[in-house]
């Protein structure tokens, strides 16, 4: 009974930043929610879209805040303490998390559906995302 109840409380995350530290933390929240048995949906928009492209750029893109700790972050990834985005995304999919791409950001950044990885379940607008996540907590990353 408990598990069924928890399944109705979903988690929704809107990934906007392309900075690794933010994406890492957002995906960690998503994984924790999935581990608790909650439906989890991730919406990738703007600079975060880069991470769901087939020819994605460097896995460790950092904003100014993150750059100050770049050495520490690189070491933690190299030592296997924290996962890179690619690994986190495949973990997310293995646990049943959904990945969506923002259709208007794709238009703005001139990215076609074919350029996105197979991890992306579908592309959609915010209205669709908000109807799908009506019973979810929404976080903007």
């Amino acid at each position: 009974m408990k598990i069924m109840k928890a399944g109705k409380e979903g988690m929704a995350l809107i990934f906007h930043s392309g900075s690794y530290d933010r994406i890492y933390h957002g995906l960690s929240i998503a994984l924790a929610a999935l581990a608790l048995g909650r439906e989890t949906r991730c919406f990738f928009t703007y600079w975060a879209l880069e991470y769901v492209k087939k020819d994605r750029g460097p896995d460790l893109q950092l904003n100014d805040e993150g750059k100050a700790q770049e050495k520490l972050i690189r070491k933690s990834i190299a030592d296997g303490h924290i996962l890179n985005v690619k690994e986190l995304l495949s973990q997310l999919k293995a646990m049943g998390g959904k990945v969506y791409a923002c259709s208007s950001s794709m238009g703005l950044l001139n990215i076609s559906r074919d350029e996105l990885t197979a991890e992306v379940d579908k592309s959609m607008g915010l209205t669709t995302f908000l109807t799908e996540t009506k019973n979810s907590q929404i976080l903007f990353i």
Binding site: K2, I3, A6, S28, L31, A32, L34, A35, L36, G37, S76, D79, G80, H81, I82, L83, Q91, A94, M95
Partner: protein
């Protein structure tokens, strides 16, 4: 499978999940993935050194209906937990 002596008596451990070196939330994520493969009543041994498990593991068990049999930290700072899969 192995037999372990805990404060609550002897238990049979079906699987071990080694999450040593991994940060939150990976110990719980790996445990959840392993649990999915098992039957109710099966017991998993979890090894982790992220101090978060001390609070996270009981919380995860409460919400998911699994049973935390024991959770202990050794001298090297590694936590060993035994979790029984709930119904």
């Amino acid at each position: 499978m192995k037999e372990i002596e805990t404060e609550g008596g002897r238990i049979i451990v079906d699987e071990t999940v080694d999450a040593v070196g991994l940060f939150c939330p990976m110990p719980v994520v790996k445990l959840k993935l392993e649990m999915e493969k098992l039957e109710p009543g099966n017991i998993v041994e979890l090894l982790a050194d992220d101090a978060g498990v001390l609070e996270d593991l009981p919380a995860w068990c409460r919400e998911t209906g699994n049973i935390l049999l024991s959770l202990k930290k050794n001298e090297e700072g590694v936590f060993t937990a035994y979790v029984k899969k709930g119904q």
